[in-house]
Symmetry: C2
Subunit: 506 residues, 2 copies
Amino acid sequence: MRADGLAGGEGGADRLGELIPVALRAMAAGIAERGGPVPAGGPAAVAAALVAERGELGQVTAASGPILAGAATADERAKPEAGPLSAALPRTGVGAEAALEHLSRLLAAGSADPGDPSCAAHLHCPPLAVSVAADVVASALNPSMDSWDQAPVASELEREFTAGIARMCYPHAETPDAVVTTGGTESNLLGLLLARERNPRAQPVCGANAHHSVARAAWLLGLPAPVVVPCEGDRMLPGALADVLTPDSVVVATAGTTNTGTLDPLPEIARICRRNHARLHVDAAYGGMALCSPSLKTKLDGLELADSVALDLHKFGWQPVAAGLFAAREAADLGALTVRAEYLNADDDTEAGLPDLLGRSIRTSRRPDAFRMAVTVHALGTDGLGALVERCCTTATEVARMVDDHPGLRLWGAPELSTVVLRPVVADETGDELVARVRRALLEAGTAVIGRAALPTGPGGESRLWLKLTLLHPHTTAEDYRPLLDRIAATAGAELVAGRESPVAS
Amino acid sequence: MRADGLAGGEGGADRLGELIPVALRAMAAGIAERGGPVPAGGPAAVAAALVAERGELGQVTAASGPILAGAATADERAKPEAGPLSAALPRTGVGAEAALEHLSRLLAAGSADPGDPSCAAHLHCPPLAVSVAADVVASALNPSMDSWDQAPVASELEREFTAGIARMCYPHAETPDAVVTTGGTESNLLGLLLARERNPRAQPVCGANAHHSVARAAWLLGLPAPVVVPCEGDRMLPGALADVLTPDSVVVATAGTTNTGTLDPLPEIARICRRNHARLHVDAAYGGMALCSPSLKTKLDGLELADSVALDLHKFGWQPVAAGLFAAREAADLGALTVRAEYLNADDDTEAGLPDLLGRSIRTSRRPDAFRMAVTVHALGTDGLGALVERCCTTATEVARMVDDHPGLRLWGAPELSTVVLRPVVADETGDELVARVRRALLEAGTAVIGRAALPTGPGGESRLWLKLTLLHPHTTAEDYRPLLDRIAATAGAELVAGRESPVAS
């Protein structure tokens, strides 16, 4: 097979049908080789594996035979690597099969795989197979969402899907609209950008619990750094918010913090914003998809009072990255993104009926991420997705109870979504550094990937380091996490001993 | 099969091995159904097809049987659609197979497929099968590039790949570095952002030939609108540039314009920038990968004098979107992107040896697009990629000759890369509106997707509308485009007649 076979057009599906099984077999082999949630040995071991693999690929290059179906000629292949390009960019190819086989196995063996329940550090979900399969078709046909003549039906599908998302966020609004983004970070940036376009003096205001992307967006957009409102229990204090608001404020509230999954009191915050004529954006990247669950959606009461909302289906939604969404209560606000480029949306083309897509994003070329999101929702239904969200939240509640009952662990608080925050009891004696070491020891051993969060111990209390489990695996039960809890406690004990024996290790 | 099966972890490859063939069969059926580069009938027909498909999917929902393997129970399935969610977000799923089958066929039938040679409007390439296959593994394992513990080997692979790209752009620099972006638009934004961080008074300056993303980035970053330098033959006039430069200027030159593929005179521009202590960013999103071709790379002489470079492998590089890159001559410049987030790159984790990835992007969660780019380069080698670039450029030169020889067509100028700009001769008589109508007529008929470009007729001349063919299909020869040229001329003739018969149609 030629290394340069195309994925689309006539015959594309056949070529993919030959190559994808090669990649999947290599992936399965790599997962088996890893045998846990993450490769053992930490960064040094992973870097060494890459160097070894480079050697193997080099040997394939030097060998001959039918596996070498690359575009280079035999003469070129015989030449040694030379010129300005590094080993990472070899001049001579090894062919599609060999490259896929080696590098797919390497990627699988060296990944932190959220498909393993012990990989539970971040808002980093295990993707659904249906979404990954749908993405193959999107990749192969490569619709680019910046003009209709690059994405005829993909743009229609996106329009319908985003209309559905807008309606989900704003059931009673007159003209809600939504666009696709690269994730919560870009969605939060859009929230501030739209505010800036309505008011050049916009002043961001957010809780101490807000995602770092809020401050970063302010920096990027040339806005002043956010005014930070204090929190209690990782939740914005509405009274403190009221104290700082002006009509220039654009408030960013959080519906599911990255640290603990806590939701800000949206109805109260929205009331305060209205009273002060301040704009409100809600970062619901984590919690937003709870709207799909009849039993959980009340947590998001008040969401539709916001001017805009960030959602992210690579969290609850089980999409591969990227799967960001941004909803606005008033479609007119998105007019701020309008831009003209003669080759993409000339006036006469738009008048002739060709939809203008360029104003749907701050990007130009854009992958049709809405396609796999739409296929997923059609496959499972919003009820099906809501059931998966519920499952994760229920599991978190049960795991939290186990933590509370565990003699070696302390629970930070009851989970509101699917994040369980905990700390080894022995850390009360030794301090935060032990907590950080437990996390790194588990990661280095390849037995678990867990997260960390700095959180105040109580009202006005000083910040302490906690461990966190962000439970996004939709098929586990609490019992699957019991061995992990025991391992955290045992590792804390072992690190305590190690720390006493060799203080240098700290 | 359960609709909510995972793509990663144990068993993930097996589930994908069941679902992907369903998607590929549907894709092949959709391509056959389309039978051309783009669906006929324009936006109205495509929208109607989507509505019809919605009906079919609805019938699947209403029916029963093993195809309905969705997460919803039979009871729920019996309930009519209700509640605030629109038809685009059905409450009840139809199962993974049915959703994939229907929507993949729909996407393929309704796409503008760059795998068809007659789809040649934009910098919208037909992706290589090897890249699409590699992306399956990346999607399934879902590494997120914002922290090492979400992307152990993926981050190493990216580091090596971007180091290779940086070295390719800057063979002699001391500390070149590169990062992955969502495309040329984000790369151009980074070029201006890094300039702003070194000098808050940064004033963008670009040619009239620059991509619209330059002005958009200035707007987004809160910088003044670019000073626009006149062009001749779609090429920036160095003398005019020298007239406007100040030490606050950040110049954006273009190595391969979107309209014509023309390259700005980089060595001269770089000299002028140095003399004026102005910063220089080169938008080489289109032309940059010519560095892989020994015979074409001299076109990019002077590139390494730039402070930063935008590349995009979804053009020459044959990657699905997104595949943007940004190279900086001095790694220290990228320090502007540094950001701290306790949960992702705490100081003590970084000191303990966990690589800090957060400062490699303005995004947070990030797909490992470098993986499929790296697999592609290992499969074909840079020589293999360079050969494909040469092929496209050679074909363009030959097609341009055919245009020049064609009695019904006029050639704008000799192609520098792979873009052929032309105009029906009869348009001299009728004006630009006929040109726009020819493009739309071919699109509506489903026979060809060609682009448009407004370009001055000569030095100081007024702007006229041209048609363009952007040739990115790496397996075609000039002869494949002869029927398309005839069709353009014939359609112009037909539109001329139609315009005369019914002046209302204009």
